[in-house]
Each structure stands twice: as C-alpha cells, then as structure tokens.
Symmetry: C2
Subunit: 318 residues, 2 copies
C-alpha cells in the first residue's frame, strides 16, 4: 500500500476564497477586508505557495466577494508565494486582469452535473461549453496559455445522484479540445467533489479512468467534507500517487450553491499536512504555523471551524 | 485495494457511554437519565446490536455516570440488541453484575502508555496488571469466561509520544496469560487510539504485528478523531480486512482524561456506516434511522456534534 505514495504533495489553499464566500452568505460586511488580508498574509508565511483569496464574481450573486479588488490591492508581496482568485466568466477574468497582487491562472471549468451547472451558474452544458470557448479566447487575447481543466461535481450530485465516469471524461476531453484550439495544452486536471459524494473506491475508479484516457495528465483533487469522508478520500488518492490537492484551512469552505445548508467545508489543510507528515510525505508546510492560521480563521469567522486538529495539541514528546 | 475489504462489519456503539461521560464533565445533572434512556431506546431500533450506555465507575471521579443503575433499570428489552457498560475495577463489575438490563462482557483492559494509566486510573503498569488479575478472578467467580482484551493508547500517547508496537504486543500477551489462568481464552483484541495519534500506515503496522503474533485473534479498533484522521484510519483498517469497530454516533465521545480539552470524539458511527455502504460493505444498520439518532443526540447535548453527515442530506436521486 505505501509503495505508491508520492514523496511530495502540493497543496493549493482555497480556504480564504471559498470559506469567506460561504461564511458571508447573507451578510456581506461580516468579514472586513483587512481581516481577509490579515489571514492571507499569515498564510503566506506557512510554506503554502498558492493561496486562493478572492472570487471575481457578480457582487449581486456573491456580495461578500465585492471587495475582491480591495483585498488584492492590500496583499503583501511574498517571495515564492502566489495569491490567486477565480473567475467564472470573461467579465470576471477582465476584473482579475485589471488588478495587481494576484497571479492569473489560465484555467477552464466545466461541471459534470448539468443540474448543478444550472443551479450554480444558470448554464446548460451547451452554455457552459460556449462560456469556456469565450474564456479560452480571453486568455489567448491576454497572451496566456491554458494549462488546467477543472471538473466540478465529478463524484456525484445532490440533484442527479451518481455521475457517470464517462461524463467526467467527456468534460475533460471537451476542455482539452477548447484549450488546444486556443493554443494551450491541458497538463493538469482538477476533479472536484463539489457535493461531497466521493468515497475511496470511487476516487480510485475516477482517477484510474482519467489516467487510462490521458496517462500524462497530472491529477489534482478538490474534496469537500460534506459527509465526513474527505480525509479518507485524500488517503485513497495518496495511495494512488495523487500529489496535488485543494484544501481549506480549518475546513473552511464548501459550496453555498449545493442545495445543502449544513454542508461542511473543504478537507482541512492542516489535517492533510498532518496526514502527510505522519506518512513521511513532504508538503513544505510548517504545521504549527498553519494551525495558528486556522485558529486565526476561526477568530475571523467568529465560530468554531469544522477541523479537529486546530483545537488539539500537536505536542508529542518523542 | 478492495480485494481485502470485509463483506460485513460489526459496529459497537459507544457514543452514549463515552459521549455523555465526556459531555457531562463539570455538570453531572446536565443530561437527564430519561434522555439517556431515550437515546438508547432509539439506537436499539437502528440495527446496531451492541450499544454501550453506561460506565460503572466512581461517581466521585465521573459524577455524570452516577445514574448508571437508573439508566440500566429503564432500558427496554429489544430482541437481538444488547446494552453494555464498562467497569474498570472489581467494584464496578460488582455494580454491573447487580443490575439487570445490560449484558456483562468478560473483558480485560490495559493501557500501552503508563503515563496515561497513571493519569486516567492512577495505576502503574504493575498496578494495572494486578487489577486485571483481580478482574479475572471476579469474572471466574461470576461464572464468566474472558474472551476480549482491550489495549488503550495503542497508537501513541500525549504524555509519552510514540508507543512501541512491542509494548502493545506485550500488553496483549499479558492479558492472554491472565485470561488463560482464569480459564478464559482471548479471541478478540480491541486496539484503542485513545489520544488520536493513529494514521493509516501506523494502523497497518500495528494490525500486521498483532496478526503476526496471534494469527487467529480477531482485531477491533476504537479510533478517536482528535486530529481528524479517524475515518482514514477506518478505511485503512477495512483495506486490511478489519471488521469490527467501536464508533460513536455524531462523533460523540473522546477521552476526558487525555489532557486535551479540545479533543474531538469517536469516529462518527453514521460516517462509518456511510463509508461501508458506499464501499458495498454490510453493517446491518439503517443509515437514515441512525442519522436521526445522531440528530437526537445533538439535541440532548444541546450543541452541534462534530460529525458532518448528520447535518448533510443523504438523498441521492439514483
């Protein structure tokens, strides 16, 4: 079993973006801009190299991200650390391109659940494809080369139930084509368990299928802990050699559009780092500093976070 | 990887005993006897066959279990379901033997961490061995045959750090000897991660070592979720064919004596049942009924429980 474990795992911290987006639902001013910056600044000292801090989405749909530009303007410059944001359409990308302080990633995004796409973005599969073509053009116009494809709801949907693996492969294939037409080349695919239906066997099935179809694609996972299995899914993926995960400190995050008010957030960054540490896998992250950040995040949101490790002792005498 | 998965997993529900013991710290009257009985009664309808409801321990040390006899007297009789309790010395066993309504288990118990034994029971290793001999005599006097050995702190200790696997084996061996001298035979060993230091690789190392030494012993695990890895440890154990787990609904439980106030509880029963269901493993438990019990438990303790699934939807259209 441990033979396939990677020696190094790359973690993409998405807690500030996903968490504050989720936490602010219904009260956009609850988390002050300067506190978002405070957390991002602290995270930049932990060894995490990529920290997603904002969404450039409609302030009408997600008012709690209306201060995205203000957050970006206040971010520190830290050698070796990039702050990132997300953008779900060309207008969002244009906003992101207009600010300094964040790294723009040329990524495409499709949902494997049409009902989720309709609910989340009010787009059919056809609308989504059209938007990704628009995004691809916009990246090309900005002189950027697409390298990453993201698939949401890759492991199941609250609206449609099981998602056929064939649908996941079809969506990846579509994004590879769109990227290629725009002069890019998809080298990474991120598979998101947006609604928390993954389990270790399903992780293996989907990862195996993607690898069979595209042996050279690097796979990353974005796992929500909605039903408590996220860390088991991470471990199953590690056993398959998967070496890239989106995580949220303290378990911040989740999906406010998943039709599930009680949804827990992301797999907790500090618990993935702890798991990796115990398994002898490097992450480059200072676990004590990260736990302090998770405690800071709990202070900022003003309630306990779902993570367990952030309130436990890390002290072990030997 | 799925080749070794068991087809059926036995779950021992320990949430009522461990959870209410933990929850009531400092306020013994906070959870009324009738509510403990209400939860036990509901759990008896879920398909769980063994439900641990009380501790027969000193009311001075654990005042919130002072109503153990009253709880037992009010338990319903449900065909195929046994309610159980724990007792850490001969006085506790005598109390348990004096009540009806619960099944008495002839089990022995040692800690693999002497510092923990000192803190938890004020016993040295030598004191613990002497007490287990006393317990063995008491079981024999009661006409009972010892069949189970429990090892606490088998995966690490907050006080001593790593626990050598050799120490775990030594403790199991000692209990096998004591049971044999009393006319019993240990057929089951439960390994407890009392302080939440286990990880999937360590689970494999310890399980493999126990199996190498005693190939015919059935192994059960009791995994606390102190640092967020419990469900990954359950999955690792399932991959090894382990088919018996102590669990706590809603994540109730934990160890009030572990020197860690923020300690999370047990791995959540409903999440283990969900994991098993998704992996095609039978547990005999009705997941919807169990989730309703976890919600009842949250109502009884009066605050959210650490489990995730109990607040998520189980509805999947296909």
């Amino acid at each position: 079993m441990p033979a396939a474990l990677p020696s190094f795992v790359q973690l993409i911290e998405v807690g500030p973006r996903e968490g504050f987006q989720f936490e602010g639902m219904g009260d956009p001013d609850r988390i002050a801009t300067h506190r978002k910056v405070e957390l991002a600044t602290a995270l930049a000292q932990t060894g995490l190299r990529t920290i997603q801090v904002v969404s450039f989405v409609s302030p009408k749909a997600v008012p709690q991200m209306a201060d995205a530009e203000a957050v970006c303007a206040a971010l520190p410059h830290v050698e070796g650390v990039e702050f990132t944001g997300i953008y779900l359409n060309d207008a969002g990308l244009a906003r992101a391109l207009a600010v300094s302080g964040i790294a723009i990633k040329a990524e495409l995004l499709l949902s494997a659940s049409e009902a989720f796409a309709l609910r989340n973005q009010r787009r059919t599969f056809a609308d989504e494809l059209a938007m990704q073509r628009t995004m691809a053009d916009a990246y090309r116009d900005a002189g950027m080369t697409i390298d990453t494809a993201n698939i949401m709801a890759a492991f199941g949907s609250n609206m449609e139930g099981d998602i056929p693996v064939a649908t996941v492969l079809e969506k990846i294939g579509a994004l590879i084509d769109i990227a290629g037409e725009a002069g890019g080349a998809v080298t990474h695919v991120n598979l998101a368990d947006t609604m928390g239906w993954a389990n270790p066997a399903l992780v293996q099935r989907v990862v195996d299928a993607v690898r069979s179809a595209w042996p050279n694609l690097r796979i990353g996972l974005h796992l929500h802990d909605t039903r408590g299995l996220a860390i088991a899914n991470v471990h199953a993926a590690l056993q398959l050699g998967v070496d890239r995960f989106d995580t949220g400190l303290g378990g911040l995050g989740g999906c406010p559009f998943a039709g599930n008010r009680g949804a827990a957030g992301n797999v907790a960054t500090e618990e993935v780092v702890f798991l990796c540490r115990e398994l002898g896998i490097e992450t480059g992250v200072d676990l004590d500093a990260l736990v302090a950040c998770a405690q800071l995040a709990a202070d900022i949101v003003g309630h306990p976070l779902p993570g367990k490790l952030l309130t436990a002792s890390l002290h072990r005498p030997n």
